[in-house]
């Protein structure tokens, strides 16, 4: 790995739009790609800051997403507000351990993994750590990939609320919690997107 040379060492920057390699010296005059006129940044500017901000927003949103009820069901057997964790417990207790596990992974395990993973990436990049660079890159890809699977919960609630409308017999309505959960998913996805994985490989100057 160390045998491979970096663009910094070569004094080159890459246009991410058309793939043109531009000498970094010329960029000091004009930051635009000579070929496609796209803006050329050596590294995404403020990547870690934006990622951190969005990560914190995600974590903040995650608290009401879990505390507030996501769905309100009413019917002949009474009415109930269910939270995400409450729903998982209910499924688990009634014997549907598979569904419980699925919801748990989609709405608890995945967001948490993302928080931890992005947090870890940010921390290591900030310290210019050279620890497990390859694995951290894989971790980043995983975070990017699993991001949208968290929308499972949102879709379940949306479908249930749309389908279960039998007036007195039974009705389901979404509650505020699911909006926060949706915000968690979106914000963490944006957070992961704004992270520049090239930072993992940067060396301190």
């Amino acid at each position: 790995m160390t045998a491979l040379r970096r663009s910094v060492e070569l004094g080159l920057s890459l246009c991410r739009t058309c793939g043109l390699a531009v000498s970094r010296a010329s960029l000091k005059v004009d930051r635009r790609c000579p070929r496609c006129q796209s803006r050329i940044e050596h590294r995404t500017p403020f990547s870690t800051e934006i990622t951190l901000a969005l990560l914190i927003a995600g974590i903040v949103f995650y608290i009401p997403a879990n505390l507030l009820p996501v769905m309100h069901t009413s019917g002949l057997l009474g009415e109930a507000d269910s939270t995400i964790l409450g729903g998982i417990l209910e499924f688990w207790r009634s014997g549907d351990w598979d569904i419980a596990l699925l919801i748990f992974i989609a709405s608890v395990a995945v967001p948490f993994t993302k928080f931890i993973a992005i947090g870890l990436l940010l921390l290591t990049v900030r310290n210019n750590s050279r620890w497990q660079q390859h694995q951290r890159t894989v971790l980043y890809r995983i975070v990017e990939f699993i991001g949208y699977w968290s929308m499972l919960d949102v879709i379940v609630v949306a479908l249930t609320a749309a389908l279960m409308q039998f007036q007195v017999l039974g009705a389901a309505e979404p509650r505020a919690g699911i909006a926060f959960f949706c915000a968690v998913v979106v914000v963490t996805m944006l957070s992961a997107l704004s992270f520049d994985p090239r930072l993992i490989w940067d060396r301190p100057a």
Binding site: P45, F46, L54, V60, F61, L76, G78, A183
Partner: protein
């Protein structure tokens, strides 16, 4: 490109450009700040909305579910059970509930909570919705000013949870009768309220709390009398059989009724909270009895059929009742007199009492005793009498029997002891006994035996008549029949005898006519007897006379 000039130029050039751009990407920090603001606002709102957490203790937590069971006030959810646990001594179930903020003002020291379960009573079916939805905790706010967070739940729902406006009244009675909570209260057979509570007071009497609904509570006045209408009132009076009941529900669940009592000069404007509950309408409508006086009587005869509660009548007016029938022992003559204690209400004597009161005879017990003494001198005696031949029940009659032997009366004894005479029913009994004896003495068996022989003889005679006399009679009758038959034939128009008789008669008639003509002729011509008949000379003679031709 040489390395050394690069860092130098980098430091010089990008500085203004980077500065320019630096705060725009930092706008992204708005996102977590907004998220935090939303979170904090939610938290604040939650804290603001968070109502009080109360703890209610129940004997049983049947059906109560954490997070599901609601607390309802006027059927609107105001809270939710947040925890159910056992008390430290394991005697009660502590149910914690989070109430909404606006329900906090309902929490008074005397706010009541109870678990609503399906309940089917006589008057009502309630809580049926809980069959499907599970139980909920009902709530009724109180009137106290003190706030409270710890409550003791009721095991039975109060019948009136949050009713309309009206008056709550306390009725006092020695016994409540068969009243159920929720039993109706009637005013002239309209239901105007219901029983909401029953209590046994420490002194053993009962207190019934009733609620009279708003437009009707105006009927409750200071003179109002309440009475029990439980069951069916069957009365056999002089006007026939009288069956009365307020409603079918009252028959089963019991009920109360009220109406204006006898008007008295009680102009009190306020409705008193407490009333007396009477046993029945008659008792309720009776003028007030006043204080009872106790009297005692010793009877030297068995008084089977005299029971506590039997009426005591003074000159036919019910003035009290027997309260005890005891057996005493008289040492002097080693007898067992029956000691009857009765309470009498002098006020029931009505106008007589008023008259006596005017004379000051009822002022104290002593004056009354003296007055009774004079009455005894005039022949006042207590006498057991038969109230009904059918049941053999007795009552005590206080009557003037001047013929009775003189009796001593000690006005100083308390309770007053009235002299007695034996009941008439014993003489009656003796008479009936004698009658029965006489009937017994009759030689019934002899009579029956004789009668039997006589009947046998009669039977034999009849038998004889049947076998011997009757056939002869039949023969005789048939002979008679034949005789009559021939007589009939003889007398028939067609019979020869009849015809010859007719001819004979017609012959004799002709003969007689001829004789008459002759006589006529001789009358007109007497000479003809001598000269014989002359030829007809006078044609002018009427034809009728001359028409007859001589055959």
């Amino acid at each position: 490109m040489s390395a050394p000039p690069t860092p130098a130029s980098e430091e010089e050039l990008p500085t203004p450009a980077v500065q320019n751009r630096r705060w725009i990407p930092r706008l992204v920090w708005v996102v977590p700040i907004v998220a935090a603001l939303i979170g904090i606002s939610l938290l604040i709102r939650n804290l603001e909305n968070a109502g009080p957490r109360i703890t209610i203790s129940f004997l049983s937590g049947e059906g109560v579910q954490v997070g599901k069971t609601l607390v309802k006030y006027r059927d609107v959810s105001v809270g939710r059970v947040s925890a159910v646990r056992l008390s430290a001594d394991h005697q009660t179930v502590l149910v914690s509930a989070d109430l909404s903020k606006d329900a906090a003002s309902l929490l008074k020291a005397d706010t009541q909570f109870w678990i609503v379960r399906p309940r089917i009573g006589v008057g009502t079916v309630s809580g049926l919705d809980t069959l499907l939805s599970g139980v909920y905790i009902g709530m009724k706010t109180g009137a106290a000013t003190r706030r409270e967070r710890q409550f003791v739940g009721l095991e039975n729902p109060p019948a009136l949870s949050h009713g309309p406006h009206g008056h709550e009244l306390q009725l006092h009675a020695a016994r409540a009768g068969s009243l159920a909570i929720g039993a109706p209260v009637y005013f002239r057979q309209f239901q105007v309220g219901h029983v909401i509570d029953e209590n046994l007071l420490p002194d053993g009497s009962t207190r019934v709390t009733v609620f009279v609904e708003a437009p009707y509570d105006g009927f409750v006045k200071p003179v109002t009398r309440f009475w029990n209408v439980s069951g069916i009132d069957v009365r056999l009076g002089a006007d026939g059989l009288n069956v009365q009941t307020e409603s079918l529900a009252a028959v089963i669940a019991g009920g109360l009724a009220f109406d204006d009592g006898p008007i008295e000069a009680v102009p009190a404007a306020d409705i008193p909270g407490d009333f007396t509950l009477y046993k029945n309408e008659t008792e309720a409508m009776a003028p007030p009895d006043g204080d009872p006086r106790y009297i005692r009587m010793r009877f030297a005869q068995a008084l089977r059929g005299l029971e506590p509660g039997a009426p005591v009548e003074f000159v036919g007016v019910n003035i009290g009742s027997v309260i005890a029938v005891d057996l005493g022992y008289a040492r002097q003559d080693k007898s067992f007199p029956v000691i009857v204690t009765a309470k009498v209400y002098p006020r029931r004597m009505g106008q007589a009492y008023d008259a006596l009161a005017a004379q000051g005879k009822t002022e104290s017990e002593a004056t009354l005793a003296t007055f009774v003494g004079t009455l005894v001198h005039r022949g006042l005696r207590a006498q057991p009498r038969s109230a009904s031949l059918l049941t053999g029940k007795l009552y005590i009659a206080l009557d003037f029997l001047p013929a009775s032997p003189r009796a001593a009366f000690d006005a100083s004894i308390r309770p007053l002891e009235l002299p007695t005479v034996n009941g008439t029913f014993q003489e009656l009994e003796a008479n009936i006994g004698r009658l029965v004896e006489k009937v017994n003495d009759l030689p019934l068996e002899q009579i029956v035996a004789d009668l039997h022989t006589d009947l046998k003889d009669l039977h034999e005679s009849l038998n004889e008549l049947h076998t011997q006399v009757l056939p002869n009679a039949v023969d005789t009758l048939s002979a008679l029949h034949r005789t009559l038959d021939s007589a009939d034939r003889t007398l028939d128009v067609e019979s020869p005898l009849q015809r010859s008789l007719t001819e004979t008669l017609s012959e004799s008639r002709n003969t007689l006519q001829a004789v008459r003509e002759l006589a006529d002729y001789l009358d007109r011509h007497p000479d003809a007897l001598l000269r014989g008949r002359r030829p007809q000379k006078m044609p002018e003679r009427p034809a009728s006379l001359s028409s007859d031709a001589r055959p």
